[in-house]
Amino acid sequence: VRDPIADFGAKGIGAVHGLGRFGAFAARVAVALVTPPARLRRTLDELHDVGVLSLAVIGVSGLAVGMVLGLQGYNTLVRFGAEESLGAVVGLSLIRELGPVLSALLVTGRAASAAAAEIASMGVTEQLDGLRMMSIEPVHFVVAPKVVAFVVCMPLLSALFIVLGLAGGYLVGVLFLGVDAGGYVSSLQQTVELGEDVVPSLVKSVVFGVLVGLIAAYRGFHAEPHSAGVSRATTSTVVVASVTTLIVDYFLTALWGVNP
């Protein structure tokens, strides 16, 4: 006889168990990071895969998001005769929320899925076991450089996203819709604060980098060793990392305190 309460309890235990395994995995990665030798060559290659290869998608998306913000912001502001504040609207939305969150989602789709698939297929083809046979710790050699690459690249990509978004808003607002160029720039500079906007934005994207990198590595590392397992690891990386990013973003924003 199925007992729904017991089923629910088992699910709960499973969830806590999974969270604990994730925490233990994160601890293993942290230990690997401080264990010599430093894998500089591997880290550089991963920086290329995560950072350089994500540049195109980040750049195009940032520009497009900035342009649509400029258009929408203008249409709303012009009703109140406040289109001079367009720079503030575009800048604050990009810096506070859209930059870190959207670039985390894009990097998840572009690089985290690839990282999870790579680690998972290394597991399927027994390359991870091969490394262990040569007494090279896979977490040290494969996983840690990937996580470092995500943590380093995320704030840089987010900053590039924001800068291109600001340029996109300028393009639409100033060049197409005729907002005063000086008004756009000065309203941007008057509203954006270093301590209240820019630093929290960078902190956010570092946190997202840690989360996305660890989730991708964990899902790939613990994939079931067959081809369906690889695809499951890739899918669940994208789903879990995206949802986690959005939920954690709320709590980071709430913790920091919303400024008027």
Binding site: H48, E84, L157, L160, V163, L194
Partner: protein, 153 residues
């Protein structure tokens, strides 16, 4: 791809990313007015409305400086410090007014030079000033006055 070519791209990416962060922290979040400053003027207002630090200071619509800081003085009145281009020759009877850009826009300080021959020095206080116009108060007064006129009839 050769490892050196890859490293070069990684280096370019890192430089571009750090440049973007620097641009955001130094320029975008920096001061709104990048012209010359140096002349520090103090104005004490009873009511500054929504004036904020880094709001522009203008003369006849031309930007000449920005609000450095806002605080309370010993008499609990709003003490506003302006940072203005030091090359300007501002007479001692210059007046300062807090105005609003548009009905709902941001507030700024407008200086109107007077006719004295002695000039303001850094640290001087501007004596002639007019407080911020607060829309709600004006509406409140208007309604009171209208009510008082109705009572007369």
């Amino acid at each position: 791809m050769k490892p050196r070519a890859r490293d070069f791209l990684v280096g370019l990416f890192l430089i571009a990313g750090i440049a973007a962060i620097a641009l955001l922290s130094l320029s975008v979040a920096g001061s709104a007015y990048r012209g010359p400053g140096g002349l520090e003027l103090v104005v004490t207002f009873d009511q500054i409305g929504g004036l904020k630090p880094r709001a522009p200071v203008v003369i006849g619509g031309v930007k000449v400086g920005q609000v450095r800081s806002i605080g309370l003085d010993d008499d609990l009145r709003a003490r506003v410090v302006l940072d203005v281009d030091q090359r300007l020759k501002l007479p001692t009877d210059t007046s300062a007014v807090i105005l609003t850009a548009g009905v709902l826009g941001d507030q700024y300080v407008e200086l109107s030079p007077g006719g004295e021959t002695t000039l303001l020095k850094s640290g001087d206080e501007i004596q002639f000033k007019q407080d911020a116009f607060v829309l709600e108060r004006m509406i409140g007064k208007l309604i009171q006055n209208l009510g008082a006129e109705d009572d007369k009839k």
